[in-house]
């Protein structure tokens, strides 16, 4: 176990007086909803009203193509480790890493009141992170997002706080794009202008590198995360080399990857999501682009072996 040692070495260097007292690093709030789908949210074209979430989206970046893992447990593990399920191993998790670098922990709460009171007492001198879990019912999620948002707004550190809302999914094993494609909204006034919609590819392995990057925990590559920080995407960088060019969702014995247009899984299903979002049709043999795309996605699937 070489990795924890490395982590230890550079964590030691971050847990340093440099950040003491005058630590300007942003606060990180992750709101993780259970089985919240795009169809729940008006800003994603859903039928239900979601004024608070829509407002969050208007103040930040709304991602069109964000993937969770096939179920909620795999999503959680992946979020905290920054790795795909088949790469999971014992390693310090996101919250440990943040705490070791000097972040104040707001805990992992399912109770709204607890989260609100933490936000109410939090001081501006030390950055904090907090994870708030919320159920799957759209109206309830929206209500809680509204409360959390106004609690942050009441504080002096509001401009220096990132709020990320996404969903970890439910208990069933999802096997298609439309099941694992979840809402992802990031509001970070210190990074992002108003109301952008991004088609950049993001999956759950990217959350850990993003938070570590914002917490200035450098050399995140050494952690061997499978993901990439989405900070360049949030700041509006044009450069695809700083971003993902494929994303993956994986459970035991099954894996699927997609790019901006096509999806391929380990069972050999290949679809053009632009013309066939429900993954019901074969790709036409006349499509000249498809073979190249498929070969590339196959290369990504094979890299796991």
């Amino acid at each position: 176990m070489r990795i924890p040692l490395i982590i230890f070495i550079f964590l030691a260097s971050f847990h340093s007086p440099a950040f003491a007292g005058d630590d300007e690093r942003p606060n990180l709030v992750l709101i993780l909803a259970r089985d919240l789908t795009r169809g729940h949210l008006e800003c994603y074209g859903g039928k239900h009203s979601s004024p608070n979430i829509d407002r969050l989206a208007k103040e930040g970046v709304r991602y069109e193509t964000a993937w969770r893992m096939p179920d909620e447990n795999l999503s959680k593990k992946t979020l905290f480790s920054g790795r795909y399920p088949s790469h999971h191993e014992k390693a310090p998790t996101l919250s440990v890493l943040l705490e070791q670098s000097g972040y104040q922990s707001g805990g992992m709460n399912t109770d709204l009141e607890k989260s609100l009171s933490f936000l109410a007492q939090a001081q501006g001198t030390q950055p904090f992170f907090m994870i708030h879990f919320v159920g799957s019912e759209g109206a309830k999620v929206d209500h809680q997002v509204g409360k959390l948002r106004s609690a942050i707004e009441k504080n002096e550190f509001k401009a220096n706080t990132l709020v990320m809302l996404t969903s970890e999914g439910g208990s069933g094993k999802a096997k298609t794009d439309f099941e694992v494609r979840v809402p992802l909204i990031v509001r970070a006034p210190f990074l992002v202008g108003q109301g952008r919609v991004s088609k950049d590819l993001v999956d759950f392995t990217d959350i850990l590198p993003t938070f570590l990057s914002l917490a200035k925990i450098a050399k995140v590559d050494a952690l061997k995360s499978d993901g990439k920080s989405i900070v360049p995407s949030l700041t509006g960088s044009d450069d695809p080399f700083e971003k993902r060019n494929w994303i993956c969702s994986e459970s035991e014995g099954f894996r699927m990857v997609r790019d901006w247009q096509h999806i391929l899984d380990t069972e050999g299903n290949f679809h053009d999501l632009r013309s066939d979002p429900r993954q019901a049709k074969e790709v036409s043999p006349l499509d000249k682009q498809a073979p190249g795309r498929r070969t590339r996605l196959q290369m990504m699937l094979d890299r796991f072996l």
Partner: protein, 790 residues
């Protein structure tokens, strides 16, 4: 045409025959002794036969033959050196006799009536005349588009003899007149303005699905951006439009190597605007402007341009990565990321944003704008149209037009048929403007418009002289000032010529005269192989080369500089691309500039011009014979006769086993060939250091060293282009004579006749004594009796 001329001339020769027949004395024995072995009943080398030649000048062709014999004797070209040579005394006698005979014939010819000169306008002249008659912008309007090409005679397409008329052409005249009438007759209110703006992704042609506030271009030329509002129909009316764009040069320096992208990241990015028309197709496509775009900072460009109805415009990245976007996705990207797969199609999202890009934020068009309404070319004939224009107004308008279109005062009797035609149309259809257009069409299809007719006395009338002059220097109709000027006064004439040469319309003279004298129009007929000459096309060297030669001509003309600079100018005009092609450092701009030449550039004068060197090659290799003939014909004025019809040309050596020189040696084996090729080949071989697109080289591709040495017929050793320049400079008289003769043919629109020789010889002498100025040469031609007579 030619027949008419000849009949007139034959008539006059019959009358003068008696006075010249006694000149026969020395000629016959001389011809028998020295000429008839090769140019007699048995052999007719070079298609010349003199045994039937009557020194009594029974016909015009005989006189021309005598003139030719005299020229050959004077040049010392004939008899050939290996044949029996006449003594100096014999030569003196025969030259004196021939000179006298021809002189008397000329005098006699001039005293009798002149030639009836009648020739039609050629295509270029027709176009320019329409332009000036109606003050039309003709850049994208070409009513002559379907006209058959005009034939050339003596190398020029404005010689009456070649300007035949056919049913087909007449059909085209009718069609052209209809188009012109529709374009020029524009009654009614000023057309309404359009103003379209598109931002970011709204801009047509951009790749969607990326940052929406910007339209982006990633490669050179192949991703046109435009306004979707114009895509179907183009602009709604002829007029001037303003095109505006906001652009940024993004990430000129990127992670990609220039050679991978086929891109030059050291150059500022350039945006070009091109226009085209769906209706007119590919021929109408052209670039109207190019602009440098600053890095990472918005550059706002604004361009005013005349657009004809139906035209649309596109923006391009003029100097972006060369090749297709697909190539980058398949071949380049995989070198830079292991996530891309070679050589298949990777998603464009993996590349967009990572390399150099030209970004356009906003695109706009506004117009049409008019300086005046109604347009000048319309109001000139149809001033202040009344609410209900009547027949009187129609007559008045068409009369005004006819006087300009026929380039002379027109009698009412002559006008009558045109007016009657239009009035009948008016009465029948009750549509004044349709009738007016009908009348305009009748005038434009009249022989009085289409033909340049010179009638009456031998001396040209004032308006005839003005017309001849304006078709000489402008390839178009005379303007009001020229028609009104007292051209019979030498000072007035001189000033008018000066004014005309300064007028922009004189660019037609440069293009048409220089273009044909030097054979520049052949450039592009056998274009270099695109695969092996990429730069030639990427930098549009063909246009650049033509421009270089035009600029030299213009420069010599404008400054009244010596015509000898055509041979040995120590400067030339280059843009960056052409300078690179010539390997001359220090020219960084796309604008042409004057560049001083050094001896080791080998470029001075026309012989170093890429245009001529390329036009005399076949696109793959040089053609020394073509180059030799080009020099003989266009600089020395002694074109060799065409090869005998039964001779097989030397096969090109496609396997490259022999050098060009070895191939040309074969000309020696056959005396028939050698006759002419001993004059042609040394000149052509001496130019071999210039390759098929005019690049200097020391060796052939197969590495064998180029040997440019040789010997001219008179024994002058030749060794490369500089020695040809020296050879020519020792024969300034011959060169001046050649150029003067070409100018005369072009100015007169007919072949030179032996009757014109006196004027030409005198002018050559005078110009040589006065510094060889090109403008002076033109002034003397215009002032000559030959120019001012029929």
């Amino acid at each position: 045409m030619r027949a008419k001329e000849i009949i007139a001339v034959i008539g006059l020769f019959v009358t003068v025959a008696a006075s010249t027949s006694r000149a026969d004395g020395a000629l016959k024995p001389f011809l028998e002794n020295y000429c008839l072995q090769c140019h007699g009943a048995e052999k007719q080398k070079g298609d010349r036969r003199f045994d039937l030649l009557g020194a009594d000048l029974k016909n015009h062709d005989d006189a021309e033959s005598l003139q030719e014999i005299l020229d050959q004797l004077n040049l010392g070209e004939m008899p050939p050196e290996e044949e029996k040579q006449p003594s100096a005394e014999e030569l003196k006698t025969i030259v004196a006799e021939l000179t006298g005979t021809l002189q008397r014939a000329r005098t006699a010819a001039r005293e009798n009536s002149g030639r009836a000169v009648l020739r039609r306008l050629n295509r270029a002249e027709y176009r320019n005349t329409i332009r000036d008659l109606f003050a039309l912008n003709m850049v994208d309007f070409d009513p002559t588009i379907g006209f058959p090409p005009d034939d050339s005679v003596e190398g020029f397409d404005n010689v009456g003899e070649g300007l035949v008329t056919s049913d087909y052409l007449l059909q085209n005249y009718l069609e052209a007149a209809r188009k012109v009438a529709d374009k020029a007759i524009r009654p009614g209110p000023r057309p309404e303005k359009i103003h379209f703006i598109a931002k970011g992704e709204e801009i047509g042609g951009t790749m969607r699905g990326f940052r929406s506030e910007v339209a982006r271009m990633t490669i050179k030329l192949r991703q046109p951006l435009n306004l979707s509002q114009l895509r179907k129909r183009g602009v709604p009316a002829d007029g001037e439009y303003v095109i505006r764009a906001k652009a940024i040069a993004h990430q000129r320096k990127s992670r990609y190597k220039d050679e991978d992208l086929r891109f030059n990241s050291d150059e500022p990015m350039r945006l070009s605007i091109s226009i085209d028309s769906r209706e007119l197709g590919a021929t109408a496509h052209r670039t109207i402007g190019e602009f440098e775009i600053r890095d990472d900072e918005i550059t706002t460009i604004e361009h005013r341009v005349w657009l004809d109805r139906g035209f649309n415009f596109n923006l391009h990245w003029a100097n972006g990565p060369n090749g297709s976007f697909k190539r980058i996705m398949r071949k380049v990207l995989p070198k830079y990321t292991e996530d891309a797969i070679y050589p298949l199609r990777n998603p464009p999202e993996m590349y967009i944003g990572s390399g150099p890009e030209l970004h356009v934020y906003e695109l706009e068009i506004e117009g049409p704008f008019y300086d005046e309404w109604p347009p000048a070319g319309f109001a000139r004939y149809f001033p202040d149209p009344p609410k209900k224009p009547d027949s009187d107004y129609l007559d008045g308008s068409l009369s005004r037009l006819a006087a300009r279109a026929f380039r002379r005062p027109v009698s009412s009797a002559e006008l009558q048929p045109y007016l009657a035609l239009a009035n009948r149309h008016f009465e029948k259809h009750k549509d004044f403007w349709a009738a007016a257009k009908y009348g305009v069409r009748a005038i434009l299809t009249s022989p009085n418009f289409i033909y340049l007719a010179e009638r009456g006395s031998k001396k040209l009338a004032r308006n005839e002289l003005a017309t001849r002059l304006s078709y000489f220097l402008w390839s178009s109709m005379p303007d009001g000032e020229l028609l009104a000027a007292s051209l019979e006064e030498p000072d007035v004439l001189r000033n008018q010529v000066g004014r005309m040469l300064q007028d922009p319309r004189s660019s037609a003279f440069v293009e048409n005269f220089a273009g044909q004298w030097l054979g520049l129009r052949k450039l592009g007929e056998m274009p270099p192989d695109p695969e092996k000459n990429r730069g030639y096309y990427a930098d549009d060297l063909e246009s650049a080369m033509r421009e270089e030669t035009h600029r030299l001509f213009r420069h010599i003309l404008d400054g009244n500089r010596s015509i000898l600079e055509f041979i040995n100018a120590d400067y030339t005009f280059l843009n960056a691309a052409l300078a690179r092609h010539y390997d001359i450092p220090g020219v960084g701009s796309d604008e042409f500039q004057r560049v001083a030449l050094k001896a080791d550039h080998h470029r001075g004068g026309l012989l170093g011009h890429g245009s001529i060197l390329t036009a005399t090659s076949n696109g793959i290799e040089t053609q020394p014979v073509m180059r030799g003939v080009w020099i003989l014909e266009n600089l020395l004025g002694t074109p060799p006769p065409p090869p005998p019809p039964d001779i097989e040309p030397i096969e090109p050596d496609t396997r490259g086993l022999n050098t060009m020189r070895e191939l040309m040696e074969k000309h020696r084996d056959n005396p028939t060939c050698f006759e002419c090729h001993r004059r042609i080949d040394p000149l052509g071989l001496a130019m071999e250091n210039f390759d098929h697109v005019g690049v200097w080289r020391e060796r052939y591709a197969k590495k064998s060293l180029i040997d440019p040495s040789g010997e001219m017929v008179d024994g002058t050793p030749i060794d490369g282009p500089d020695s040809i320049r020296n050879y020519l400079l020792k024969r300034t008289n011959q060169f001046t004579h050649c150029l003067s003769e070409k100018l005369f043919i072009y100015a007169l629109g007919r072949r030179i006749s032996f009757t014109d020789r006196e004027d030409i010889d005198r002018i050559v002498l005078e110009v040589s004594e006065q510094g060889f100025g090109l403008q002076e040469l033109i002034q003397k031609i215009v002032a000559s009796e030959t120019f001012q007579s029929k």
